[in-house]
Amino acid sequence: MLLERERERYSRQILLFGEEGQERLKDAKVFIAGAGGLGCPIALYLAVAGIGEIRIADRDIVDRTNLNRQVLHRESDIGELKARSAEAKLREANPDIRVEAFATTIDATNVRDLVGDVDLIVDAMDNFSTRYLLNQEALRSGMPLIHGAIRGFDGQATTIIPGRTACLECIFPEAPPAEVFPVVGTTPGVIGLIQANEAIKYLLGKEDLLVNRLLLWDGLSTTLETYTVERRPDCPACGEGVRS
């Protein structure tokens, strides 16, 4: 049941998907991997939309070079754990939701516990090795994984439903080379909000998710295209030879 103040807080979106939809969001739990450029807008918009429980993990400490894009962190947070900084801002943004923040490196030994019993995983990582780990956890548990990544003015996103759609390794069999990537804050803003929008749609049970489609955002030419992607029968993560 929604509280009276929740009916008021969410009144504009209750117009859109009803109290039943809002209750679905209130009952939902989401794991966000990363509290950086993507993680900040994703977490903020899911918090204010009233997702009942947000679990967010990031091992890093806020430094000044983060502040052009990681919009939950402020000058006064420099030196603070991103997990703690994000947690405080999310609680302030919406005191009616639960927030759990983990200042931990996501690795093979803890990914299962960190993800816990959520309804979906949102990929806000900055490297492909952890992304592949999240993909494997999504495949193991059957949880959807909403992928996003950015560089410069460019970004990509796709929604992965294990068993039904191409997985991350089907789409990206090879990780792009690691680098200190250039970025302007609007790029993770655009891609992060596409991911948050996908999360909300999935939790509401909406059709037409970004499944089996890779969305490409090119901010310099202001173009957005989607390409069909397919499962690879020989995918090492979800292909025919892999036990599920």
Binding site: G34, G36, G37, L38, G39, D123, A124, M125, D126, N127, F128, G148, A149, I150, R151, G152, F153, D154, G155, Q156, F172, E174, A175, P176, P177, A178, E179, F181, V183, P188, L216, D218, L220, S221, E225, Y227, T228, V229, E230
Partner: protein, 92 residues
């Protein structure tokens, strides 16, 4: 025949965007890539390795379908085909 090449992200800056390129009938994907290599010139390092092969993480599509690396020499293109080429990004 005319092939439309769409490059994205960094590759758009290197190759230009939405290029119609003329090829002889029966051209295979490897021929299209060789033309792109020529067009990229010195900036082609982001797309091709030292031996001129497409870098392994680069995504190549024909008419919205992914092209596998082992079919570059055999995949014959047709007039009006669209080839898309882009680098996945990894930041967050």
């Amino acid at each position: 025949m005319k092939i439309r090449v769409k490059a994205f992200a960094r590759f758009r800056e290197i190759l230009g965007s939405d290029l119609p390129i003329e090829f002889p009938d029966g051209a295979v994907m490897a021929t299209i890539l060789a033309a792109l290599r020529g067009r990229a010139g010195d900036e082609g390092d982001a797309i091709f390795d030292g031996a001129g092969r497409l870098r392994t993480h680069v995504i190549l599509m024909r008419n919205g379908r992914r092209v596998k690396r082992d079919e570059l020499d055999t995949l014959v293109l047709a007039d009006g085909d669209e080839v898309a080429i882009f680098p996945p990004v990894a930041g967050g």
